[in-house]
């Protein structure tokens, strides 16, 4: 491992850890502006995480160890995930350990542990949330895998940094297959991160909630970890999107070490635009009934498969 690799790895991890709540704050702020509300502070997510860490944890009497372990595993999975995705530089040692397929597996691990923890207490809301979370997951996961499959076919590798490098250095700017998969990916991103139209992060209504229902029994530091992990997950998904569809501006293998720091403002700009776009998308669309969520995700899956077919037909 060369020093630049270690620097890239640690820089990416710390940027992800630090910027993930900020990204959520930014989306909330944009949403408030778009909805004519007075916006909450950009730093609110940090404050609430900090506040939660300082509280006394209240845990249900009959919670098992699994319940207390799950937040750490979910958080750990998201942090390692952030280490695999080339958000700033492609010289990441961790990507040898886990490629894009393993990244999908990692996200699935987090989801399974979250669902199991939600079922642990045995409340009505918990199992409901676990069931819905798994329902969204089992449809979103193959769609995400197909998105990655198409990018892998184009660049003949499953390592995310290599995909990014390949796509960033191509002269042909637009792949028709990637256009289809981009739509699929956007739908997966919305569903997996509990955004409108699949879920609503701002409500606690039992008829509609998915993600929040799995967290109902958590409090204090466990909840803080779960919230932080959710922010990291959104950040990770955004960075997967950048790596696949707008890979430019990332410091690649040939570039000078200083390029790594030049990629930080690029990432910030991408995140700012993506956050604003996400807020706009959430403002103009309405929440689907839970029964319609499978259709939404099946559409995403079909878009991804269509992208695959287009790639195989056109061979570009």
């Amino acid at each position: 491992m060369r020093p630049i690799e270690i620097v890239t790895q640690f820089l990416e991890l710390s940027v992800a850890l630090a910027a993930a709540p900020l990204f959520v704050g930014w989306i909330n702020q944009c949403r408030a502006w778009l909805q004519n509300r007075s916006a909450p502070s950009l730093w609110l997510p940090y404050r609430s995480i900090r506040r939660l860490f300082h509280k006394e944890a209240v845990i249900a009497e009959d919670a098992s160890r699994l319940f207390r372990l799950a937040p750490y595993i979910v958080f750990g999975a998201m942090v390692v995930g952030a280490g695999i995705i080339p958000s700033m530089g492609t010289r990441l040692p961790l990507t040898h350990v886990a490629d894009a397929i393993a990244l999908v597996g990692l996200l699935a691990t987090a989801r399974v542990f979250m669902s199991l923890a939600a079922m642990d207490i045995g409340t009505a809301f918990g199992t409901l949330g676990a069931r819905r979370e798994m329902m969204v997951g089992f449809l979103a996961e193959p769609a995400l895998l197909m998105v990655i499959f198409v990018a892998s076919l184009i660049s003949a590798t499953t390592a995310l940094p290599a995909i990014t490098e390949h796509l960033a250095t191509q002269t042909l700017g637009l792949y028709p297959s990637l256009a289809f998969t981009a739509v699929a990916f956007l739908m997966v991103l919305l569903a997996e991160n509990a955004r409108i139209p699949v879920d609503n992060p701002a409500t606690h209504l039992e008829l509609t909630m998915i993600h929040e229902a799995t967290l109902l029994e958590y409090s204090a530091r466990h909840l803080a970890l779960m919230e932080w992990a959710a922010a990291l997950k959104l950040f990770n998904y955004a960075c997967i999107g950048f790596a696949l569809f707008i890979p430019w501006g990332v410091s690649t293998r040939g570039s000078a070490p200083a390029a790594l720091f030049a990629s930080l403002p690029v990432l910030a700009a991408k995140l700012a635009v993506a956050g604003a776009a996400l807020a706009l998308l959430e403002t103009v669309s309405a929440k689907l009934r839970v029964f319609r969520a499978p259709e939404f995700l099946a559409t995403a899956f079909l878009f991804a498969v269509l992208g695959l077919l287009v790639h195989l037909l056109l061979r570009v």
Binding site: R131, P142, T158, L225
Partner: protein
């Protein structure tokens, strides 16, 4: 003795014979549980471990043969051990070692077959599976195959007092024999006119492509019936749950793999290299089975039946990989054929450990609660921590999550699928990659199924008051479970070594190989230079390092105490176990999304019912559309023959007379 040490085949045979002897020894004192269960079964487990060791040591060894003068005169038994036999013997030995130890603690006094007889059937079952893997002529193979079917039939019907179990056993026996008939025909085709039924003669016979394809399709039918490929799967969800849990583990974990062995043996060895389109048949059946099995598993309410359906899914994934390997091999892409074959063997090994682990886990649950119905379980992680935490490993492995073993084989399979578009046949090369989408869907569904399985049994509130008295597994059971769980973990953490060992097998079986690895020992990089690598060990280290750092950080900076209180549940005070999702409830989205798969019968209450009742019955459309018409057809044909049966001796004498005259007319 020296011959034993130098010849793995002789060592294997000795161990199989020992299994037979252990079985017979059970008859000496058939009622003594201490003698049969606590002495003989652990001895059988030792034999299994020894067999695994011998097989592992001989993975890369040259093939060797032996001829045993037993059986009919002039028909000696030909035996041969090569790498393919070795890898499946390894699977048989290592999985059965864990299952036998578990069984030693599992069998108790009860209704049904006596312990000694059970011991005989169990060890005969093990030995016959070993013999299937070593047979080198059609006679020996069929004898071993039938012994396997019969001994497992008796094991399935251990609780023969129950009508439901007798019915399951009958269905199993029927399907086993339909499959065996197809195999007999396949061997008949493969001898190619030489009328020699040794496998050597079959290797030497040069069949025309049409006959070779006929033989392959017959073999696929025969072995598919044993493996539980859809639509030949109907016996599996009935028979596997009916058997005692260690036997279910053996059947699901090991016996299904003998069918995979059979297809590999026939297509790559006996028929001398497959044609590429055979792969498409296997692939299509495999993909359909994978999806069908996963969807039905999600809708089950009986924990062992759920696992049985999940076995159908995994067999589907194995056959998908096999089909892909055949396609690659047929079009001459040897490196990729090796990759897909390794994925097949890897998944077979993985499934034998994880499914055995879960079946044994359900056995422990069954013993301590007396319940198989998911609707009457729940919260067992508090009363059975050993079983619960070890089952968690199996659950995560079966859900295909890194860093456990189930992920590795699926990863390898997906890597192979990434090259499917390079197959020269147009149209096929566009449809093949879509198979990856279905594999991904089945794998994601498997995670859903496993969360349901684990969540409903082990988590939440106990759904019955009797569950509060549930006790954990006994020591022998725990040892068995730990052994199987260790298998899952080990196979997941050192994928590069496992793939290295399996390379020797595919080299010998299909004459294909992967390039030599250029990666360090802890990294799996099947195709060097392609930038696709994975390391289970480093993955585990990375995640645990982050988790540990987080735990430490939280401990260090925030030392707040934990207060235990009643569950919050949005402020609802009267929480009870009935408010959790039932197994039916958890499967509801799947029933909703995959409605066309199911034959559903709903009974809905009207608003005015005094005792409202809601019931959903789920049927298998294939059973209704295929098997029921087939059954009634057979019944009708049989009825039309019944006209001949008059019940009067004079009529029967008349039949004999007419037959005699007719025969004389032919002869003269």
């Amino acid at each position: 003795m020296t011959a034993l040490l130098h010849s793995p085949l002789a060592a294997c045979l000795t161990l199989l014979a020992l299994w037979g002897l252990i079985g017979l020894a059970g008859l000496l004192r058939p009622r003594s549980l201490r003698y049969v269960a606590r002495t003989l079964f652990p001895l059988g487990a030792l034999c299994g471990a020894a067999l695994a060791w011998v097989a592992f040591a001989s993975l890369a060894a040259r093939p060797e043969r032996a001829v045993l003068i037993v059986g009919l005169p002039d028909l000696p038994m030909h035996l041969r051990r090569d790498a393919l036999s070795s890898v499946f013997l390894l699977l048989l030995g290592s999985a059965s070692a864990g299952i036998s130890v578990f069984a030693a603690g599992y069998f108790r006094r009860g209704h049904g077959t006596s312990a000694g007889l059970l011991c005989l059937q169990y060890h005969l079952f093990l030995a016959s599976m070993g013999l299937v893997l070593l047979a080198d002529d059609a006679y020996a193979f069929m004898v071993a195959w039938e012994t396997m079917a019969l001994s497992s039939y008796f094991l399935v019907t251990t609780q023969h007092g129950l009508g439901e179990i007798r019915r399951a056993g009958f269905l199993y026996l029927l399907m086993a024999h339909v499959g065996a008939l197809a195999l007999l025909l396949a061997f008949g085709v493969m001898q190619g006119g030489s009328w020699q039924f040794t496998f050597d003669a079959m290797r030497a016979a040069h069949l025309t492509p049409v006959w070779a394809s006929t033989a392959f399709l017959l073999a696929l039918f025969g072995f598919g019936a044993k493996a539980g490929l859809v639509p030949l799967h109907v016996w599996l969800p009935e028979a596997h749950p009916a058997a005692p849990s260690p036997v279910s583990a053996l059947m699901s974990g090991v016996m299904l793999k003998t069918a995979v062995y059979g297809v590999l043996r026939v297509s790559f060895d006996l028929l001398g290299g497959p044609q590429w389109w055979w792969g498409l048949v296997a692939l299509t059946l495999g993909l359909f089975s994978a999806l069908y099995g996963a969807v039905f598993a999600a809708a089950q309410t009986d924990m062992k039946r759920l696992l049985a359906w999940s076995s159908i899914e995994n067999v589907g994934i194995i056959f998908t990989g096999l089909g892909l390997a055949v396609v690659f091999h047929g079009v001459g892409m040897s490196g990729l054929a090796a990759l897909a074959l390794i994925a097949v063997l890897y998944h077979a090994l993985n499934h034998s450990f994880m499914k055995s682990l879960l079946f044994c886990g359900t056995g422990a649950v069954l013993h301590s609660t007396g319940e198989r119905n998911l609707g009457r379980l729940g919260g067992l992680i508090r009363h059975m921590p050993w079983v619960a935490w070890l089952s968690l490993i199996g659950v995560l492995a079966l859900a295909g999550l890194p860093p456990l073993n189930g992920f590795v084989s699926e990863w390898l399979l997906l890597q192979a699928f990434l090259f499917a578009h390079q197959v020269p046949q147009t149209f096929v090369n566009m449809l093949l990659p879509l198979g990856a989408a279905l594999v991904a869907l089945a794998a994601a569904l498997a995670a859903y199924v496993m969360v349901k399985f684990y969540g409903v049994i082990f988590l939440g509130q106990p759904r019955e008051a009797t569950l509060l008295r549930a006790h954990d597994a006994n020591v022998l059971e725990r040892i068995g479970l730990v052994w199987l769980a260790l298998g899952c973990v080990t196979l997941g953490l050192i994928p590069a070594q496992v793939v290295g060992a399996l390379r020797a097998v595919v080299r010998q079986v299909a004459h294909v190989d992967l390039p030599n690895p250029a990666a360090p020992w802890w990294l799996l990089e099947p195709l060097p230079g392609r930038l696709a690598s994975y390391s289970g060990l480093a993955f585990l280290v990375a995640v645990s390092a982050v988790v540990l750092l987080t735990v430490l950080g939280v401990r260090l900076f925030y030392q707040q105490r934990v207060r235990h209180a009643a569950p919050w549940d949005c402020g609802f005070a009267r929480l009870d176990a009935r408010m959790q999702d039932s197994a039916e409830g958890f499967g509801q989205p799947i029933r909703h999304i995959f409605e066309p798969f199911f034959a559903m019968h709903r009974e809905l209450p009207s608003p005015f019912d005094r005792a409202p009742r809601y019931r959903v019955l789920i049927g298998d459309r294939i059973w209704q559309r295929l098997y029921e018409p087939l059954g009634s057809l057979v019944q009708r044909v049989a009825d039309s023959f019944a006209v001949l049966q008059q019940g009067r001796i004079a009529t029967y004498l008349l039949y004999s007379f007419v037959t005699l005259v007719a025969l004389l007319a032919v002869v003269l």
